[in-house]
Protein backbone atom coordinates (compact mmCIF):
# COMPACT_ATOMS: atom_id res chain seq x y z
CA UNK A 1 0.00 0.00 0.00
CA UNK A 2 1.71 3.19 -1.11
CA UNK A 3 0.05 5.28 1.60
CA UNK A 4 2.14 3.46 4.19
CA UNK A 5 5.28 4.26 2.21
CA UNK A 6 4.32 7.94 2.31
CA UNK A 7 3.81 7.70 6.05
CA UNK A 8 7.32 6.27 6.40
CA UNK A 9 8.68 9.13 4.26
CA UNK A 10 6.94 11.56 6.60
CA UNK A 11 8.52 9.89 9.60
CA UNK A 12 11.94 10.03 7.93
CA UNK A 13 11.46 13.75 7.40
CA UNK A 14 10.51 14.20 11.06
CA UNK A 15 13.67 12.28 12.03
CA UNK A 16 15.82 14.62 9.94
CA UNK A 17 14.21 17.64 11.54
CA UNK A 18 14.83 16.20 15.01
CA UNK A 19 18.48 15.49 14.20
CA UNK A 20 18.96 19.03 12.91
CA UNK A 21 17.25 20.44 15.99
CA UNK A 22 19.76 18.58 18.14
CA UNK A 23 22.62 20.33 16.36
CA UNK A 24 21.15 23.80 16.75
CA UNK A 25 20.28 23.49 20.46
CA UNK A 26 22.69 23.39 23.36
CA UNK A 27 24.06 24.92 26.53
CA UNK A 28 26.26 27.40 24.65
CA UNK A 29 24.41 29.99 22.61
CA UNK A 30 25.38 29.67 18.95
CA UNK A 31 23.44 31.41 16.20
CA UNK A 32 21.91 29.15 13.54
CA UNK A 33 24.29 30.79 11.07
CA UNK A 34 27.32 29.79 13.16
CA UNK A 35 26.07 26.21 13.36
CA UNK A 36 25.42 26.04 9.63
CA UNK A 37 28.89 27.45 8.84
CA UNK A 38 30.51 24.98 11.23
CA UNK A 39 28.64 22.11 9.62
CA UNK A 40 29.64 23.17 6.10
CA UNK A 41 33.29 23.92 6.95
CA UNK A 42 34.36 21.34 9.53
CA UNK A 43 38.05 22.20 9.10
CA UNK A 44 37.64 25.96 9.55
CA UNK A 45 38.57 25.88 13.23
CA UNK A 46 37.16 28.03 16.01
CA UNK A 47 34.79 27.53 18.92
CA UNK A 48 31.68 26.92 16.84
CA UNK A 49 33.31 24.09 14.90
CA UNK A 50 34.58 22.51 18.10
CA UNK A 51 31.20 22.71 19.82
CA UNK A 52 29.23 21.43 16.85
CA UNK A 53 31.58 18.62 15.82
CA UNK A 54 32.90 17.32 19.11
CA UNK A 55 30.01 18.07 21.45
CA UNK A 56 26.69 18.30 19.64
CA UNK A 57 27.13 16.02 16.64
CA UNK A 58 28.21 13.02 18.72
CA UNK A 59 25.39 13.69 21.18
CA UNK A 60 22.83 13.74 18.39
CA UNK A 61 24.31 10.63 16.80
CA UNK A 62 24.35 8.84 20.16
CA UNK A 63 20.77 9.83 20.92
CA UNK A 64 19.59 8.69 17.49
CA UNK A 65 21.43 5.37 17.88
CA UNK A 66 20.02 4.72 21.34
CA UNK A 67 16.51 5.64 20.16
CA UNK A 68 16.68 3.40 17.12
CA UNK A 69 18.16 0.48 19.05
CA UNK A 70 15.67 0.58 21.93
CA UNK A 71 12.63 1.16 19.71
CA UNK A 72 13.51 -1.71 17.38
CA UNK A 73 14.41 -4.02 20.27
CA UNK A 74 11.09 -3.29 21.97
CA UNK A 75 9.20 -3.85 18.76
CA UNK A 76 10.89 -7.21 18.13
CA UNK A 77 10.29 -8.50 21.67
CA UNK A 78 6.64 -7.36 21.73
CA UNK A 79 6.08 -9.24 18.48
CA UNK A 80 8.00 -12.33 19.50
CA UNK A 81 6.28 -12.64 22.89
CA UNK A 82 2.89 -11.50 21.56
CA UNK A 83 2.73 -9.17 24.52
CA UNK A 84 2.26 -5.41 24.13
CA UNK A 85 3.59 -4.65 27.62
CA UNK A 86 7.08 -6.00 26.99
CA UNK A 87 10.02 -3.60 26.93
CA UNK A 88 13.60 -4.29 25.82
CA UNK A 89 14.86 -4.52 29.39
CA UNK A 90 12.71 -7.61 30.01
CA UNK A 91 15.56 -9.93 29.01
CA UNK A 92 17.61 -8.74 32.00
CA UNK A 93 20.12 -6.85 29.85
CA UNK A 94 19.80 -3.57 31.72
CA UNK A 95 19.81 -5.06 35.22
CA UNK A 96 22.81 -7.27 34.42
CA UNK A 97 24.71 -4.35 32.93
CA UNK A 98 23.75 -2.14 35.86
CA UNK A 99 24.93 -4.67 38.42
CA UNK A 100 28.26 -5.06 36.62
CA UNK A 101 28.72 -1.29 36.48
CA UNK A 102 27.83 -0.96 40.16
CA UNK A 103 30.33 -3.64 41.10
CA UNK A 104 32.86 -2.08 38.71
CA UNK A 105 32.49 1.30 40.38
CA UNK A 106 32.84 -0.34 43.79
CA UNK A 107 36.04 -2.02 42.67
CA UNK A 108 37.38 1.26 41.33
CA UNK A 109 37.42 0.42 37.62
CA UNK A 110 38.14 3.53 35.54
CA UNK A 111 35.07 5.24 34.05
CA UNK A 112 36.03 4.79 30.34
CA UNK A 113 35.91 1.01 30.77
CA UNK A 114 32.45 0.94 32.34
CA UNK A 115 30.37 0.97 29.10
CA UNK A 116 32.24 -2.05 27.76
CA UNK A 117 31.85 -3.80 31.10
CA UNK A 118 28.11 -3.08 31.07
CA UNK A 119 27.80 -4.29 27.50
CA UNK A 120 29.51 -7.60 28.25
CA UNK A 121 27.51 -8.14 31.43
CA UNK A 122 24.25 -7.30 29.66
CA UNK A 123 24.96 -9.86 26.94
CA UNK A 124 25.95 -12.45 29.52
CA UNK A 125 22.71 -11.89 31.45
CA UNK A 126 20.62 -12.24 28.29
CA UNK A 127 22.45 -15.46 27.48
CA UNK A 128 21.61 -16.76 30.95
CA UNK A 129 17.96 -15.81 30.51
CA UNK A 130 17.83 -17.49 27.09
CA UNK A 131 19.46 -20.60 28.56
CA UNK A 132 16.77 -20.76 31.27
CA UNK A 133 14.00 -20.08 28.73
CA UNK A 134 14.95 -22.67 26.14
CA UNK A 135 12.69 -25.63 25.49
CA UNK A 136 13.66 -28.23 22.95
CA UNK A 137 15.43 -26.32 20.21
CA UNK A 138 13.30 -23.22 20.69
CA UNK A 139 12.47 -20.59 23.26
CA UNK A 140 9.39 -20.61 25.43
CA UNK A 141 7.81 -17.16 25.78
CA UNK A 142 6.51 -17.67 29.29
CA UNK A 143 9.81 -19.06 30.56
CA UNK A 144 11.63 -16.14 28.95
CA UNK A 145 9.48 -13.61 30.80
CA UNK A 146 9.84 -15.46 34.12
CA UNK A 147 13.61 -15.87 33.77
CA UNK A 148 14.06 -12.24 32.68
CA UNK A 149 12.00 -10.86 35.54
CA UNK A 150 13.71 -13.05 38.15
CA UNK A 151 17.28 -12.33 37.06
CA UNK A 152 16.45 -8.62 36.77
CA UNK A 153 15.20 -8.65 40.37
CA UNK A 154 18.39 -10.34 41.52
CA UNK A 155 20.66 -7.86 39.74
CA UNK A 156 18.58 -4.90 40.91
CA UNK A 157 19.22 -6.11 44.45
CA UNK A 158 22.97 -6.10 43.71
CA UNK A 159 22.71 -2.53 42.43
CA UNK A 160 20.83 -1.47 45.58
CA UNK A 161 23.43 -3.18 47.74
CA UNK A 162 26.28 -1.42 45.93
CA UNK A 163 24.51 1.93 46.31
CA UNK A 164 24.06 1.51 50.07
CA UNK A 165 27.66 0.30 50.54
CA UNK A 166 29.35 2.95 48.42
CA UNK A 167 27.85 5.92 50.17
CA UNK A 168 28.79 9.11 48.33
CA UNK A 169 31.94 7.82 46.70
CA UNK A 170 30.97 6.58 43.29
CA UNK A 171 27.25 6.26 43.79
CA UNK A 172 26.81 9.28 41.54
CA UNK A 173 28.20 7.34 38.62
CA UNK A 174 25.73 4.54 39.26
CA UNK A 175 22.78 6.88 39.76
CA UNK A 176 23.55 8.76 36.56
CA UNK A 177 23.62 5.45 34.78
CA UNK A 178 20.31 4.33 36.29
CA UNK A 179 18.61 7.59 35.31
CA UNK A 180 19.80 7.28 31.73
CA UNK A 181 22.17 9.88 30.33
CA UNK A 182 24.36 10.57 27.34
CA UNK A 183 26.62 12.99 29.20
CA UNK A 184 30.32 12.21 28.78
CA UNK A 185 29.82 9.84 25.85
CA UNK A 186 31.31 10.56 22.46
CA UNK A 187 32.47 9.27 19.10
CA UNK A 188 34.64 6.52 20.57
CA UNK A 189 31.73 4.81 22.40
CA UNK A 190 29.62 5.14 19.26
CA UNK A 191 32.40 3.61 17.19
CA UNK A 192 32.87 0.45 19.19
CA UNK A 193 29.14 -0.19 19.71
CA UNK A 194 28.22 0.40 16.06
CA UNK A 195 29.09 -3.13 14.83
CA UNK A 196 26.66 -4.55 17.39
CA UNK A 197 23.96 -2.05 16.44
CA UNK A 198 24.39 -2.80 12.74
CA UNK A 199 24.49 -6.53 13.44
CA UNK A 200 21.34 -6.30 15.55
CA UNK A 201 19.50 -4.37 12.84
CA UNK A 202 20.55 -6.92 10.20
CA UNK A 203 19.31 -9.81 12.33
CA UNK A 204 16.07 -7.88 12.88
CA UNK A 205 15.65 -7.45 9.13
CA UNK A 206 16.11 -11.19 8.63
CA UNK A 207 13.53 -12.02 11.30
CA UNK A 208 10.82 -9.57 10.30
CA UNK A 209 9.13 -11.53 7.46
CA UNK A 210 8.23 -14.29 9.93
CA UNK A 211 6.88 -11.82 12.48
CA UNK A 212 3.39 -11.47 10.98
CA UNK A 213 2.96 -15.25 10.94
CA UNK A 214 4.27 -15.56 14.50
CA UNK A 215 1.51 -13.18 15.63
CA UNK A 216 -1.00 -15.91 14.70
CA UNK A 217 0.49 -18.33 17.23
CA UNK A 218 3.26 -20.84 16.75
CA UNK A 219 0.85 -23.46 15.34
CA UNK A 220 -0.21 -21.39 12.33
CA UNK A 221 3.35 -20.05 11.93
CA UNK A 222 4.67 -23.63 11.64
CA UNK A 223 1.86 -24.62 9.30
CA UNK A 224 2.67 -21.83 6.82
CA UNK A 225 6.34 -22.82 6.85
CA UNK A 226 8.02 -20.63 9.48
CA UNK A 227 10.97 -22.14 11.32
CA UNK A 228 9.66 -20.93 14.68
CA UNK A 229 12.79 -21.81 16.66
CA UNK A 230 15.07 -20.00 14.20
CA UNK A 231 12.78 -16.96 14.06
CA UNK A 232 12.65 -16.69 17.85
CA UNK A 233 16.43 -17.02 18.23
CA UNK A 234 16.95 -14.34 15.58
CA UNK A 235 14.47 -12.00 17.22
CA UNK A 236 15.94 -12.52 20.67
CA UNK A 237 19.55 -12.12 19.47
CA UNK A 238 18.72 -8.95 17.57
CA UNK A 239 16.84 -7.43 20.50
CA UNK A 240 19.63 -8.37 22.92
CA UNK A 241 22.46 -6.93 20.83
CA UNK A 242 20.57 -3.69 20.28
CA UNK A 243 19.57 -3.35 23.94
CA UNK A 244 23.04 -4.14 25.29
CA UNK A 245 24.62 -1.59 22.96
CA UNK A 246 22.03 1.04 23.87
CA UNK A 247 22.49 0.38 27.59
CA UNK A 248 26.26 0.67 27.25
CA UNK A 249 25.82 4.06 25.57
CA UNK A 250 23.14 5.61 27.71
CA UNK A 251 22.31 3.58 30.81
CA UNK A 252 18.63 2.90 31.36
CA UNK A 253 16.60 5.08 29.03
CA UNK A 254 13.11 3.86 29.78
CA UNK A 255 9.84 4.05 27.91
CA UNK A 256 11.28 4.38 24.39
CA UNK A 257 11.24 0.62 23.89
CA UNK A 258 7.74 0.32 25.32
CA UNK A 259 5.94 3.29 23.76
CA UNK A 260 7.56 3.77 20.37
CA UNK A 261 6.40 0.41 18.94
CA UNK A 262 2.83 1.31 19.95
CA UNK A 263 3.06 4.70 18.26
CA UNK A 264 4.57 3.05 15.20
CA UNK A 265 1.72 0.55 14.89
CA UNK A 266 -0.75 3.39 15.39
CA UNK A 267 0.74 5.25 12.47
CA UNK A 268 1.47 2.56 9.86
CA UNK A 269 -0.62 -0.39 11.05
CA UNK A 270 0.48 -3.73 12.41
CA UNK A 271 2.27 -5.20 9.38
CA UNK A 272 5.69 -5.95 10.89
CA UNK A 273 7.65 -4.76 7.87
CA UNK A 274 6.24 -1.24 8.04
CA UNK A 275 5.99 -1.12 11.82
CA UNK A 276 9.69 -2.00 12.15
CA UNK A 277 10.70 0.89 9.90
CA UNK A 278 8.32 3.24 11.68
CA UNK A 279 9.66 2.18 15.11
CA UNK A 280 13.22 2.84 13.99
CA UNK A 281 12.40 6.29 12.57
CA UNK A 282 10.33 7.28 15.61
CA UNK A 283 13.19 6.23 17.89
CA UNK A 284 15.58 8.36 15.83
CA UNK A 285 13.15 11.27 16.17
CA UNK A 286 12.11 11.13 19.81
CA UNK A 287 15.35 10.47 21.66
CA UNK A 288 17.40 13.25 19.98
CA UNK A 289 14.48 15.62 20.62
CA UNK A 290 14.33 14.59 24.26
CA UNK A 291 18.11 14.90 24.56
CA UNK A 292 18.01 18.40 23.05
CA UNK A 293 15.35 19.29 25.63
CA UNK A 294 17.38 17.78 28.44
CA UNK A 295 20.37 19.95 27.48
CA UNK A 296 18.49 23.18 26.92
CA UNK A 297 15.76 23.35 29.58
CA UNK A 298 17.99 24.31 32.53
CA UNK A 299 21.50 24.99 31.20
CA UNK A 300 24.15 24.32 32.17
CA UNK A 301 22.73 21.39 34.16
CA UNK A 302 21.08 18.50 32.31
CA UNK A 303 17.90 16.65 33.17
CA UNK A 304 18.71 12.93 32.89
CA UNK A 305 17.42 11.65 29.56
CA UNK A 306 15.60 8.68 31.09
CA UNK A 307 13.83 10.95 33.56
CA UNK A 308 12.75 13.38 30.85
CA UNK A 309 11.46 10.60 28.60
CA UNK A 310 9.45 9.15 31.47
CA UNK A 311 7.95 12.59 32.21
CA UNK A 312 6.89 12.97 28.60
CA UNK A 313 6.29 9.31 27.82
CA UNK A 314 4.03 8.28 30.69
CA UNK A 315 1.36 10.96 30.04
CA UNK A 316 1.52 10.16 26.32
CA UNK A 317 1.06 6.48 27.01
CA UNK A 318 -1.79 7.09 29.42
CA UNK A 319 -3.46 9.44 26.96
CA UNK A 320 -3.16 6.94 24.13
CA UNK A 321 -4.38 3.88 25.97
CA UNK A 322 -6.36 4.86 29.00
CA UNK A 323 -8.62 7.53 27.61
CA UNK A 324 -11.98 7.11 29.36
CA UNK A 325 -14.20 6.35 26.41
CA UNK A 326 -12.51 4.49 23.85
CA UNK A 327 -10.17 2.41 22.00
CA UNK A 328 -8.03 0.81 24.65
CA UNK A 329 -6.64 -1.82 22.34
CA UNK A 330 -2.93 -2.20 22.86
CA UNK A 331 -2.09 -3.57 19.45
CA UNK A 332 -2.28 -1.85 16.20
CA UNK A 333 -4.45 0.67 14.54
Amino acid sequence: MPSRVWLLCGLALAALVALAAGLFVGGTALSPGDVARALLHPRAGGDAVAIVWSLRAPRVALAATVGAALAVAGFLLQGMLRNPLVDPFLTGVSAGAGAAIAVGVALGIAAPFLPALGFAAGLATALGVAFLARRGTGIDAERLILAGVSLSALFSAIIALALTRLGRNGSEEILAWLAGSLAGRGWSELLWTSPYIVGGLLLAALAVPALNALRLGSGIARAVGVDVARANWLLLSAATLLTAAAVALSGIVGFVGLIVPHLARRIVGSDGRYALGASLLLGVTLVPLADALSRSLFPPSEIPLGVLLAFVGVPTFLYLYLRPAGATRLWGT
Binding site: A223, V224, R329
Partner: protein
Amino acid sequence: MGHLNVAAVRLSIGERTLLENVDLHVVPGRLCAIVGPNGVGKTTLLRCIAGFAEPAAGAILIDGVSVGSMPRAERARAVTLIGSDAESPQGMSVREVVLTGRFARRAWWDWTTGEADHFAADAAIERVALAPLADRSFDTLSSGERQRAWLALALAQDARTILLDEPTSHLDVRHATSVAALLRSLADEGRAVLAALHDLSEAAAIADDVALLGDGRLLAFGPADDVLEPELLERAFGIAFERARVAGAWRVFPRAPIRRNFSH
Protein backbone atom coordinates in the same frame (compact mmCIF):
# COMPACT_ATOMS: atom_id res chain seq x y z
CA MET B 1 -1.52 -34.73 -5.91
CA GLY B 2 -1.93 -34.81 -2.16
CA HIS B 3 -1.98 -38.55 -1.52
CA LEU B 4 -1.60 -38.93 2.22
CA ASN B 5 -0.40 -42.23 3.63
CA VAL B 6 -0.11 -42.91 7.33
CA ALA B 7 1.53 -46.30 7.81
CA ALA B 8 1.93 -48.21 11.08
CA VAL B 9 2.32 -45.01 13.05
CA ARG B 10 2.82 -45.03 16.79
CA LEU B 11 2.44 -41.79 18.75
CA SER B 12 3.96 -41.26 22.16
CA ILE B 13 4.07 -38.41 24.64
CA GLY B 14 7.18 -38.98 26.70
CA GLU B 15 7.11 -42.62 27.79
CA ARG B 16 3.36 -42.97 27.38
CA THR B 17 2.07 -44.48 24.14
CA LEU B 18 -0.96 -42.58 22.91
CA LEU B 19 -1.86 -44.42 19.70
CA GLU B 20 -0.54 -47.53 18.02
CA ASN B 21 -0.81 -49.04 14.55
CA VAL B 22 -2.50 -46.14 12.84
CA ASP B 23 -2.88 -46.83 9.13
CA LEU B 24 -4.89 -44.52 6.97
CA HIS B 25 -4.82 -42.96 3.57
CA VAL B 26 -6.56 -39.95 2.12
CA VAL B 27 -6.57 -39.36 -1.62
CA PRO B 28 -7.25 -36.08 -3.41
CA GLY B 29 -10.94 -35.33 -3.65
CA ARG B 30 -11.82 -37.15 -0.46
CA LEU B 31 -12.66 -35.80 2.96
CA CYS B 32 -11.67 -37.96 5.90
CA ALA B 33 -13.01 -37.29 9.39
CA ILE B 34 -11.04 -38.28 12.48
CA VAL B 35 -13.46 -39.19 15.23
CA GLY B 36 -12.87 -40.31 18.79
CA PRO B 37 -13.18 -39.32 22.44
CA ASN B 38 -11.36 -36.37 23.98
CA GLY B 39 -7.71 -37.04 24.74
CA VAL B 40 -7.45 -40.03 22.40
CA GLY B 41 -4.75 -38.32 20.33
CA LYS B 42 -6.55 -36.67 17.42
CA THR B 43 -4.65 -33.41 17.78
CA THR B 44 -1.31 -35.18 18.24
CA LEU B 45 -1.96 -37.26 15.12
CA LEU B 46 -2.75 -34.14 13.10
CA ARG B 47 0.38 -32.39 14.39
CA CYS B 48 2.50 -35.37 13.33
CA ILE B 49 0.94 -35.43 9.86
CA ALA B 50 1.62 -31.68 9.57
CA GLY B 51 5.28 -32.35 10.39
CA PHE B 52 5.29 -30.50 13.73
CA ALA B 53 6.34 -33.63 15.59
CA GLU B 54 7.87 -36.98 14.67
CA PRO B 55 5.89 -40.16 15.26
CA ALA B 56 7.58 -42.65 17.58
CA ALA B 57 7.37 -45.26 14.84
CA GLY B 58 5.94 -45.69 11.36
CA ALA B 59 5.84 -43.43 8.31
CA ILE B 60 3.80 -40.43 7.21
CA LEU B 61 4.05 -39.84 3.47
CA ILE B 62 2.53 -37.24 1.19
CA ASP B 63 2.85 -38.13 -2.48
CA GLY B 64 5.41 -40.72 -1.44
CA VAL B 65 7.69 -38.30 0.45
CA SER B 66 8.12 -38.45 4.21
CA VAL B 67 6.68 -35.28 5.76
CA GLY B 68 9.43 -35.16 8.38
CA SER B 69 12.17 -35.11 5.76
CA MET B 70 10.65 -32.34 3.61
CA PRO B 71 12.31 -28.93 3.59
CA ARG B 72 10.08 -26.42 5.31
CA ALA B 73 8.92 -24.54 2.21
CA GLU B 74 8.16 -27.78 0.36
CA ARG B 75 6.23 -29.08 3.34
CA ALA B 76 4.13 -25.92 3.45
CA ARG B 77 3.00 -26.68 -0.11
CA ALA B 78 2.26 -30.31 0.71
CA VAL B 79 0.31 -29.91 3.92
CA THR B 80 -1.11 -27.31 6.28
CA LEU B 81 -2.84 -27.55 9.66
CA ILE B 82 -5.41 -25.14 10.98
CA GLY B 83 -5.20 -25.95 14.68
CA SER B 84 -7.68 -25.10 17.39
CA ASP B 85 -4.92 -23.06 19.09
CA ALA B 86 -4.72 -20.40 16.37
CA GLU B 87 -4.53 -16.97 18.00
CA SER B 88 -6.49 -14.02 16.73
CA PRO B 89 -4.08 -11.12 16.52
CA GLN B 90 -5.26 -7.66 17.46
CA GLY B 91 -4.91 -5.04 14.79
CA MET B 92 -4.15 -7.34 11.86
CA SER B 93 -6.65 -7.14 9.03
CA VAL B 94 -8.26 -10.24 7.55
CA ARG B 95 -6.22 -9.72 4.37
CA GLU B 96 -2.95 -9.51 6.34
CA VAL B 97 -3.81 -12.73 8.17
CA VAL B 98 -4.63 -14.55 4.94
CA LEU B 99 -1.47 -13.21 3.27
CA THR B 100 0.67 -14.98 5.86
CA GLY B 101 -0.41 -18.20 4.14
CA ARG B 102 1.96 -17.14 1.33
CA PHE B 103 5.01 -17.18 3.61
CA ALA B 104 6.60 -20.27 2.05
CA ARG B 105 6.26 -18.92 -1.51
CA ARG B 106 9.36 -16.81 -1.04
CA ALA B 107 12.65 -17.06 0.84
CA TRP B 108 12.15 -16.83 4.60
CA TRP B 109 14.10 -13.57 4.83
CA ASP B 110 12.36 -11.94 1.85
CA TRP B 111 10.36 -8.81 2.76
CA THR B 112 8.29 -8.56 -0.41
CA THR B 113 4.78 -9.77 -1.14
CA GLY B 114 4.17 -10.01 -4.85
CA GLU B 115 1.23 -9.59 -7.16
CA ALA B 116 0.60 -13.35 -7.12
CA ASP B 117 0.43 -13.37 -3.31
CA HIS B 118 -2.17 -10.60 -3.18
CA PHE B 119 -4.13 -12.26 -5.97
CA ALA B 120 -4.15 -15.62 -4.16
CA ALA B 121 -5.14 -14.00 -0.86
CA ASP B 122 -8.00 -12.04 -2.43
CA ALA B 123 -9.23 -15.11 -4.31
CA ALA B 124 -9.18 -17.14 -1.09
CA ILE B 125 -11.07 -14.44 0.81
CA GLU B 126 -13.63 -14.31 -2.00
CA ARG B 127 -13.89 -18.11 -1.89
CA VAL B 128 -14.92 -18.16 1.78
CA ALA B 129 -17.31 -15.22 1.23
CA LEU B 130 -15.41 -12.78 3.44
CA ALA B 131 -14.67 -10.21 0.72
CA PRO B 132 -16.75 -7.47 2.40
CA LEU B 133 -14.73 -7.95 5.59
CA ALA B 134 -11.27 -8.19 3.99
CA ASP B 135 -10.03 -4.91 5.47
CA ARG B 136 -11.68 -5.41 8.86
CA SER B 137 -9.51 -6.08 11.87
CA PHE B 138 -9.39 -9.84 12.44
CA ASP B 139 -10.29 -9.57 16.12
CA THR B 140 -13.63 -7.95 15.29
CA LEU B 141 -14.82 -11.08 13.45
CA SER B 142 -17.25 -13.59 14.97
CA SER B 143 -16.04 -17.14 15.66
CA GLY B 144 -17.65 -18.40 12.47
CA GLU B 145 -16.07 -15.66 10.36
CA ARG B 146 -12.69 -16.33 11.97
CA GLN B 147 -12.90 -20.00 11.10
CA ARG B 148 -13.68 -19.09 7.49
CA ALA B 149 -10.71 -16.69 7.51
CA TRP B 150 -8.42 -19.51 8.70
CA LEU B 151 -9.73 -21.62 5.83
CA ALA B 152 -8.91 -18.74 3.49
CA LEU B 153 -5.36 -18.76 4.87
CA ALA B 154 -5.09 -22.47 4.05
CA LEU B 155 -6.48 -21.79 0.57
CA ALA B 156 -4.00 -18.96 -0.04
CA GLN B 157 -1.25 -21.32 1.09
CA ASP B 158 -2.59 -23.74 -1.53
CA ALA B 159 -1.38 -26.86 0.28
CA ARG B 160 -2.32 -30.15 -1.37
CA THR B 161 -3.43 -31.67 1.93
CA ILE B 162 -5.44 -29.63 4.40
CA LEU B 163 -5.69 -30.71 8.04
CA LEU B 164 -8.20 -29.16 10.41
CA ASP B 165 -8.52 -29.61 14.16
CA GLU B 166 -12.17 -29.25 15.21
CA PRO B 167 -13.05 -26.59 12.64
CA THR B 168 -16.72 -26.45 13.67
CA SER B 169 -16.40 -26.48 17.45
CA HIS B 170 -17.79 -23.39 19.20
CA LEU B 171 -19.82 -22.46 16.14
CA ASP B 172 -23.57 -22.03 16.05
CA VAL B 173 -25.44 -24.37 13.77
CA ARG B 174 -25.62 -21.96 10.86
CA HIS B 175 -21.89 -21.15 10.88
CA ALA B 176 -21.00 -24.78 11.54
CA THR B 177 -23.01 -25.74 8.47
CA SER B 178 -21.34 -23.13 6.28
CA VAL B 179 -17.86 -24.22 7.43
CA ALA B 180 -18.77 -27.88 6.88
CA ALA B 181 -19.98 -27.04 3.37
CA LEU B 182 -16.66 -25.30 2.68
CA LEU B 183 -14.72 -28.37 3.86
CA ARG B 184 -16.77 -30.53 1.51
CA SER B 185 -16.14 -28.21 -1.42
CA LEU B 186 -12.38 -28.11 -0.71
CA ALA B 187 -12.36 -31.88 -1.14
CA ASP B 188 -14.60 -31.70 -4.21
CA GLU B 189 -12.07 -29.34 -5.79
CA GLY B 190 -9.47 -32.09 -5.58
CA ARG B 191 -7.67 -31.58 -2.29
CA ALA B 192 -7.16 -34.20 0.37
CA VAL B 193 -8.92 -32.97 3.52
CA LEU B 194 -8.51 -34.51 6.97
CA ALA B 195 -10.53 -33.02 9.81
CA ALA B 196 -10.94 -33.95 13.47
CA LEU B 197 -14.68 -33.64 14.13
CA HIS B 198 -16.78 -34.06 17.24
CA ASP B 199 -20.23 -33.96 15.71
CA LEU B 200 -20.80 -37.53 14.51
CA SER B 201 -23.83 -36.64 12.40
CA GLU B 202 -21.83 -33.90 10.74
CA ALA B 203 -19.07 -36.41 10.01
CA ALA B 204 -21.66 -38.80 8.58
CA ALA B 205 -23.04 -36.04 6.39
CA ILE B 206 -19.85 -34.62 4.85
CA ALA B 207 -17.05 -37.19 5.18
CA ASP B 208 -16.20 -39.83 2.61
CA ASP B 209 -14.12 -41.81 5.05
CA VAL B 210 -13.91 -41.92 8.81
CA ALA B 211 -10.99 -42.87 11.02
CA LEU B 212 -12.35 -43.91 14.40
CA LEU B 213 -9.85 -43.68 17.25
CA GLY B 214 -10.39 -45.25 20.65
CA ASP B 215 -8.70 -47.34 23.25
CA GLY B 216 -5.22 -46.26 22.13
CA ARG B 217 -5.53 -47.38 18.54
CA LEU B 218 -7.28 -46.96 15.24
CA LEU B 219 -10.51 -48.92 15.79
CA ALA B 220 -11.75 -48.59 12.24
CA PHE B 221 -10.98 -46.80 9.03
CA GLY B 222 -13.23 -46.89 6.00
CA PRO B 223 -16.30 -45.41 4.30
CA ALA B 224 -18.23 -43.18 6.69
CA ASP B 225 -21.41 -45.28 6.64
CA ASP B 226 -19.46 -48.43 7.59
CA VAL B 227 -17.50 -46.87 10.44
CA LEU B 228 -20.14 -44.64 12.02
CA GLU B 229 -22.27 -47.52 13.21
CA PRO B 230 -23.43 -48.07 16.79
CA GLU B 231 -21.30 -51.06 17.74
CA LEU B 232 -17.97 -49.52 16.70
CA LEU B 233 -18.90 -46.15 18.20
CA GLU B 234 -19.75 -47.81 21.50
CA ARG B 235 -16.29 -49.37 21.59
CA ALA B 236 -14.71 -45.97 21.03
CA PHE B 237 -16.82 -43.82 23.34
CA GLY B 238 -18.08 -46.33 25.92
CA ILE B 239 -21.76 -45.43 25.54
CA ALA B 240 -24.53 -46.91 23.41
CA PHE B 241 -25.49 -45.26 20.10
CA GLU B 242 -28.37 -45.30 17.69
CA ARG B 243 -28.54 -44.05 14.17
CA ALA B 244 -31.28 -43.20 11.77
CA ARG B 245 -31.47 -42.05 8.20
CA VAL B 246 -32.82 -38.53 7.86
CA ALA B 247 -33.15 -37.12 4.36
CA GLY B 248 -30.68 -39.64 2.99
CA ALA B 249 -27.90 -39.09 5.55
CA TRP B 250 -27.20 -40.98 8.75
CA ARG B 251 -27.83 -39.17 12.01
CA VAL B 252 -25.92 -40.59 14.94
CA PHE B 253 -26.93 -40.00 18.55
CA PRO B 254 -26.50 -41.53 22.00
CA ARG B 255 -29.15 -44.14 22.87
CA ALA B 256 -29.79 -42.85 26.39
CA PRO B 257 -29.68 -39.09 26.14
CA ILE B 258 -30.13 -36.94 29.19
CA ARG B 259 -33.78 -36.00 29.36
CA ARG B 260 -35.59 -33.35 31.27
CA ASN B 261 -38.33 -34.56 33.52
CA PHE B 262 -41.55 -34.82 31.50
CA SER B 263 -43.85 -35.52 34.48
CA HIS B 264 -44.65 -31.86 35.17
